[in-house]
Each structure stands twice: as C-alpha cells, then as structure tokens.
C-alpha cells in the first residue's frame, strides 16, 4: 500500500481507529483518503444493515472483510401489526451462507423481523467457532430443533435472546443439548416460547453458569419453581418471571420472598403473567434498586400497582397496562423522579367505551413530575390540545413520543377541534424529537407544523390523518433528518410522492398502505429512481390488470444499491426501469 512519507504507520492508525466505534464516525474516517479508507475497512468489526435488501451480503463482505458482529433488519415495522402479508421476504439465509465462508470468526448475529430457518441456525452453529451472541427479535421460520443445534455446538455462546419471535415448538428438550461442561451463558431470553422447556435442564444450566446476568423465563415456568432458580443465580441483574400465579401458600411465598431478597444485583423485572396479587409483596425487598419494570402483561389493578411502583424510587423505565389509571400515574410522578421511559398499553383495545379511568391526565402528571422523561408510548381514548401543549412545555427534552388514541379521527374532546396544534406544540418545543407517532383527528396543518419544526425527526408514523397531498409534501420537504416514514389510511396520493422523489433516496424506507397512490405513479417512480426499489404489494392480483390510475393496496419504497430483489412472492412487484424485471 502506497504510504506518504509523513503519515503514521498503518498499525498506529489502526490502533487509533480501534477507539472509534460509531458507524458515523467510521464512515467519515473512510472518506479522508484512500489509505485511511483501506485501513478503516480492514479494521471495522461491526456492521449494521438497517434494511437487508439495501445491499447484498457480497458487497458487505467485499468492503469489510474482518467483521465480527452483524446486525440486520428485515421486514418493515408495520409487519408487527399484520400489515405485511406472510411471505413478503426478509430471508436471512443468503446472508448466513455468505458469512459462513467469509467470516469464520464471526461472533455476533442480531436480527430483527427476519425469517430464519433451522438450516441457517445449524449452519451458524457449525461455521463460527467463536460464536457468542445470537439475538432474534421478532423473527420467525425456525423451531426448537434449530435452537438445539445452537445449544449443542456453540461452546462459547454468551447470549441467546429470542425476543418476541415466533418459534415452532417441537420439543422442550433442546435446552438439554447444552453440554454439561458448558458454563458461559450470560444472557438467556426464552420468554416467547409457548411450551414448557425441560425444567431440570434449565435448573442445571442456571446453576452452572456463574456469569448469568439476564434470565427471561417463559410463561410455562411455574411460580413455585422460581425461588429455586433464583437461589442458584443470586447474581442476576435482569429477571423475567414465568407465570406469577399459584395457590396462595405461605411456604411458597416465603421461599420466593427470601429468594428475591438474596438477589442483591437485580435491576430489571419483567414477566408477571397471570398475576396473583398476593404474591406481589415478594418483590418488595428489591423494589428500591429496580431501574426497569415491565408489568405490561400483568393484570393487576391500580391499588396494587401504586403500592409496587411507589417503592421503586430509582425506576427509569416502566411498561404497564392502563389498569394503572390516572391515579397510579400520579403516584408514579410523585415517586419516580428518575423516570426516563413510560409505556402504557391498553387492557381492552377493542372495547368501545373506556374500561378504566385512564385519560390524558395521567400522561400530563408524569410529564410534570418526571423531569427526565424522554420516551413515551401511550394508549388512551381521549386527548386535548391543551394537554399536549402542557406536555410539550413540561418536557422539551422529549425524544420519542408515540401517542395512540384508540379510536381513529378522535378530536380534542374538550373543543372538538383537530389535534393539530397539540402535536404542533410537541414538535415545536421538543427540538430533539427523533420519533413521533400521531393519532386522533388531524388535518394537513399538523404536517405543516411537523415539516417546519421537526428537524431532528427520524421516524414518523401516521394513521388516519391528513386531508390532501399537501400533508405528505410538508413531511417530505421539511423533515431534514427523516429516515423512516410509515403511513396507513391517509388520503395521500401521487403528487407529493412524485414531487419529492429525490427525498426518498435520503431515507431508509417509506411505507404507504390504504392511501391513494396509483399504479401509474409507482411505475413512474420506479422508472425515474433507479436507486430505489419501489415495491407494490397487492393481494388482489397483478396491478397491471387494472387501470393505471387505480390505487394500489400497499407500497414499500426503499433505497438500495443492489437493485431489485429476486425472492419476492407472487403478490409483490418491483417497479423498475426494465419492465421485464417487473414480475421477477
């Protein structure tokens, strides 16, 4: 490699670069000069591909030959809500087989919303001798057989996290495939598994892994066995219980309480399915140390929730059902001054009438009482512009604000006006807002506010809002840092989309479903923008059998350097320059 007389030797530069972890910084480094580009690419160890179709595995491997950690994301976010039909894509197999030969020293694979088969899992377990971390978040396509291969072959595994994946449960014996001399587990999350795993194998595993810090059990692990596990792992930092119900028996209670008391490092709790409230006090001894509490599956009523939460003075994150009520949120605001993140989920999402007294007031209280609150996900049934303005003024440090008013098109319940000015206040005051989800009755005006003020916004979710293309135009022309935009059931059509086509190349992806985008516009977009894949998803059949002006069902546009993909199912079409490619 040509070397300038005055520059540092490669080794020194490499050493310096090793302190630089962030992708942005590394990308900047690689643009300084050719030799820095080369040194950087040989020393990059972590790669994050936010859309697995944006680039091919070959291209990644060619540029970064010595990668140790890979993170990939597949399906669009709306797949979580069943808006992306089964079979759309997100297959990880080509990546695994390419990496199996190219990265023998790969240590970490993290996947989100991807389809992974047992064959791929087996390939992983046999190809990477130093494999340490497998995180499968909202993935599917595999069974416990694949997990058995991982358990049996990955001697250095530290982390196995199945997230909220859909796993075909064939046998609980897979856990027994960890060899007796395997002791390196640090983090195990099997909360998503529907069936029982072999409890004795679990117990033995927990008992022989001294570095185990995170253990998230599945619902099938009964409460009376929990104490046992905890006694074998008093060093646990994060625990997810199984079902938290049992007949109320004093011996079970005291065992449990004692076991919890013995866990001096416990900072995070989750699980709590089927809660029997009488057992809640068992966790009281550790409440004051808790930083994260996920009670979002716990059907506990407000008084018990208040008792619990009031003891968690160091709480930073709370996920809870709306059973907490406004009163409980008041108590939260009074007790948990370090709260950073709040998520309130609906206990009865399809009910017509509110089933619990949880309103906008609860959120206002928390915004007043918790100065560090920056991340909110809140489901409720009523909201007012006044409340939103108060929240905005209280918490200019808000970075993630996702509000879901359950009934679409719900206006300000006090004035019956749209909620435009309320959300406008949010984007105006919260200058660092990175993520926003809208709901309620909204006109184009709210998008004007967003386009004007939300300059740091990276992800926006819109549903049942707006009146015309002007709304979409405001977003696309105003939000300078927008990366992901997902829209459903809004009257946005062709104009704003086509007028802002170039913007789409600066974003990761755009999703539009049940809007008014015509097939003709999609074709035009695909023809004009070779750097984008314009995917039309329509289960009614080929869109060219209908008039061009006919709206399509779903549109997914994303930037890519590897052209149209070839693994599409029969109901997805890519609009491309070459019409012959269209049906591939």
């Amino acid at each position: 490699m040509p070397r300038m007389g005055y520059s540092f030797p490669e080794e020194v530069l490499e050493h310096v670069f090793s302190f630089i972890q962030s992708d942005e910084d590394r990308n900047a480094i690689s643009e300084v000069c050719r030799s820095w580009h080369d040194i950087e690419r040989w020393s990059r160890r972590r790669v994050f591909v936010g859309n697995c179709y944006a680039i091919s595995p070959t291209m990644v491997i060619r540029r970064f030959p010595e990668v140790r950690s890979v993170k990939l994301k597949g399906k669009p976010h709306f797949a979580d809500f069943n808006l992306v039909p089964e079979g759309w894509g997100g297959y990880v197999a080509p990546w695994i087989s390419a990496m199996a030969s190219a990265y023998p020293w790969l240590e970490e694979i993290r996947l989100k919303r991807m389809v992974i088969t047992d064959e791929s899992l087996e390939l992983i377990s046999k190809s990477f001798k130093n494999f340490k971390v497998l995180v499968l978040s909202s993935c599917e396509g595999f069974s416990t057989d694949g997990l058995a291969a991982i358990a049996a072959n990955c001697r250095n595994l530290r982390e196995l996290d199945l997230g909220e994946s859909e796993v075909e449960d064939l046998s609980g014996h897979w856990l027994s495939r960890f060899p007796d001399n395997y002791t390196s587990m640090v983090s195990l999350n099997i909360a998503c598994l529907g069936w029982e795993v072999s409890f004795s194998a679990l117990e033995r595993l927990v008992g022989r892994c001294p570095n185990l810090r995170t253990l998230r059990l599945n619902r099938a692990v009964p409460l009376d066995k929990l104490a046992n596990l905890l006694c074998r792992a008093p060093q646990l930092v994060e625990l997810g219980t199984g079902a938290y119900s049992s007949e109320l028996r004093p011996d079970v209670f005291s065992n449990l309480s004692g076991a919890f008391s013995g866990c001096k490092e416990l900072k995070s709790l989750s699980g709590f399915w089927d809660v029997v409230p009488g057992y809640l006090p068992a966790v009281y001894p550790i409440c004051s140390k808790l930083k994260s509490l996920n009670l979002s599956y716990a059907t506990i009523q407000s008084p018990e929730l208040i008792k619990l939460v009031s003891q968690c003075q160091n709480l930073q994150r709370l996920w809870v059902l709306d059973y907490i009520e406004d009163a409980g949120l008041d108590a939260l605001a009074a007790s948990c001054k370090d709260l950073r993140e709040l998520r309130v989920f609906p206990s009865d999402p399809f009910g017509q009438e509110p089933n619990v007294p949880l309103t906008e007031q609860g959120l206002v209280s928390v915004s007043e009482g918790c100065p560090k609150l920056q991340s909110v996900l809140y489901f409720c049934r009523q909201m007012s512009n006044a409340a939103l303005m108060t929240i905005a003024r209280n918490r200019p440090n808000m970075t993630r604000f996702r509000l879901c008013i359950i009934e679409p098109h719900t206006p300000d319940y006090l004035t019956l006006q749209p909620l435009d000015v309320g959300f406008g206040a949010i984007v105006e005051h919260c200058k660092d807002l990175r993520r926003l989800s809208l709901s309620g009755l909204l006109t184009d005006r709210v998008f004007e506010y967003i386009g004007t003020h939300a300059k740091k916004l990276e992800m926006l979710s819109v549903a049942f809002a707006g009146e015309s293309d002007l709304g979409l135009h405001h977003i696309l022309s105003g939000c300078d840092n927008l990366r992901k935009l997902e829209i459903r059931d809004c009257p946005f059509g062709d104009k704003a989309l086509l007028a802002n086509a170039a913007k789409l190349e600066t974003m990761r992806s755009l999703w539009m479903s049940s809007c008014s985008v015509s097939f003709g516009a999609c074709k035009l977009l695909g023809q004009k923008m070779p750097g984008l894949n314009v995917e039309v998803i329509d289960e009614r059949g080929p869109p060219d059998l209908r008039p061009e002006s006919c709206p399509i069902d779903k549109l997914y546009v994303y930037r890519t350097v590897s052209g149209p993909r070839f693994d599409m199912p029969g109901f997805v079409w890519t609009m491309a320059e070459n019409p012959a490619l269209r049906l591939s």
Partner: protein
C-alpha cells in the same frame, strides 16, 4: 396554510431548502434539484395540478376501477381541506369514509369524524368491510404477541374459570404463549375482546405459506373461499412465471371445492393436541378454539387422515421430562 405554487413549470424538490416558514411551496428550477420535470411526467401528473393549494381539483383520470374490496376510485371529487369544514364537530353524517372501528351506533366521537378523509376511498372501513371484520386490520397498533397474552388473561366475567382452566391444563397442554397467534378462548361471543386470529396456512406444492385471519370469518364457507382466492392467486402467478405444469387448482373455484374435496385438495387443521383433523366437522366456535394452523392437503394424502403426515417437522410433540 397557504402556498399556491405560481406557474406550472418545474417540480418541487424534496429535501431541504424549498419549504419556507409559511409553508408555501416554492417552485424549483431545474438546476436546483431536478426530480421530475413536467415533460417527463406521465398523464398522471398534469402541470397545473402541481398547484397544491386550497380547493385543488385532482383532475387525474379516475377511471372505473373495479376493486374487489369495497368502494374505490369512482368517487374522487375534490381533495377536501380544513376550509371545507369550518367546524369539524358540526358535520352531520358519519359518512362512508369515516372509520369503521366504532359500531354504527357509536358515541359522540362520531360527530367528529366528518368528511375530513373523504379523499380516501380506500379507508379503513372498506378494508374492514371487505374482510368481513368489524375491526380495522392492525389497529390499534399492538403486536400480535401482546394481543395474545391480553386475550388469554381477559378480565371477562369468565376470567376466573378461564384462568383456572389454564392452570389445570398447563400440565397437559402448552401454556398459552405466542405460538401461532392462537386465542385460547373465543371471547368474540361476549363481543368484548376481539383480536386478530392469524393462523398459518400451507398448501401442498407451494413453498411459501400464508396467514389468514380467522376472526374475520364466521363460517367455514367464507374461510374456504378466502383460502381459495389466496392460493388461486399464488398458483396462477407462479404458474405463469415458471410455465410449468403444476398439480394445483388454477381454474375458477366455486365456494365449496375445498370443503367437499372435489378440487383434489382437502382443508385440514392441526388442533391444540397436535392432531390433524378435517376442517368442517365440528361447530365453528369449537374449531376456532382449537385450531393452531391450517394445511391444504392433496386429497390423496388425506385418506383417513393418518396422524403421521409429511410435515417437514413431524406432527408429534415430545414432552420434556
């Protein structure tokens, strides 16, 4: 919200620069950021239609789109804006475009759902109506994982009975977890908790499976029809691409071909115990409660419905010790 673009030429660029604080859209000359010049636009984009101001008329040919699902296309008039509704709350009818997620006899919030989204004919209700569901797909935005847990811990009057059933059955049945999006109890009867009930469907010979929402059906006929539509599409498309002969149904199918076996395929399901059964033998409600997934099987393989089938992962489940 003002902003009328003067004169037609040129497209409006995306990204920074062109939006000003009064939210007007400025025209951008071709040098700035040529996106789509008016000459290039197809008939979809009329120069004058780039005037996105108030009272814009669409003018795009609407055509008679025959869509299978609900009213679509034929009713575009103007794009309505806030000016058309000086007082949103005053509008009378909850029109066709209003959200369907509340029942027609819903409460005061229906007043507000004026015609603000009249521009969208593909509104949620047409989708929902076509699905035969009174719920909008994917709304409220809650993950299936969470939804299942919710349903299974429903605070319904039957909850105590229900929970104890779960506790009792835990020894012999899987605890209810995510699995294949099953709902343990059909809470639909109470009209309270309804959730999507997506189950996987595989058809012999087609590598890619699909998912169908059982909660949007009330009887076997509509389910069978939906499946036939779903797989007829896949099979015709795949046939046309591959140009091969396939042993599948490609012609138009009358409703009960799947149910009466006359198509050469039978519809089967795997129940909670892991057994494969013929669809249609038990009452619908019982079926909903026990189905885990569906399979459209070649009739030749379905004789007597032998318990062991050519599933890639077998049909039996091993009980752990």
């Amino acid at each position: 919200m003002q902003g009328v673009v003067g004169g037609g030429a040129g497209a409006v660029s995306g990204g920074g620069g062109s939006s000003t604080s009064d939210a007007s859209m400025s025209t951008v000359s071709k040098e700035d950021n040529p996106v789509l010049s008016s000459e290039d636009s197809s008939s979809c984009l009329d120069e004058s239609e780039l005037e996105l101001g108030l009272g814009l008329s669409l003018g795009v040919g609407v055509g008679a789109c025959k869509a299978q699902q609900g009213p679509r296309g034929g009713q575009y008039a103007r794009i309505l804006t806030a000016k058309d509704f000086p007082y949103v709350g005053s509008s009378t009818s909850a029109s066709v475009s209003s959200s369907s997620s509340s029942s027609s006899s819903s409460s005061s919030s229906s007043l507000s759902r004026a015609n603000v989204t009249a521009g969208t004919k593909r509104s949620a209700d047409s989708v929902a109506a076509a699905n035969g569901a009174s719920q909008v797909v994917g709304w409220p935005p809650i993950r299936a994982y969470r939804m299942n847990s919710l349903v299974n811990q429903a605070k319904l009057p039957a909850t105590e009975v229900f929970n104890s059933l779960i506790v009792k059955s835990r020894n012999s049945n899987p605890a209810v977890g995510k699995g294949t999006s099953n709902a343990c109890v059909n809470a639909n009867e109470k009209g309270q908790l309804r959730s999507s009930l997506f189950v996987k469907v595989n058809m012999d010979g087609i590598p890619i499976g699909r998912k169908v929402d059982l909660s949007s059906h009330r009887c076997y006929e509509t389910l069978a029809q939906k499946l036939e539509d779903m797989f007829a599409t896949s099979s015709t498309i795949m046939n046309s691409i591959r140009g091969e002969e396939h042993d599948m149904m490609v012609d138009a199918i009358t409703p009960s071909k799947l149910l009466d076996g006359s198509s050469g395929f039978v519809l089967t399901y795997e129940d909670k115990e892991g057994d494969w059964m013929l669809v249609g033998d038990v009452p619908w409600g019982m079926f909903i409660n026990s189905v885990r997934r569906l399979r459209i099987m070649r009739a030749s393989e379905a004789n007597g419905l032998a318990p062991r089938l050519e599933e890639s992962n077998g049909g039996q489940r091993n009980k752990p010790i």
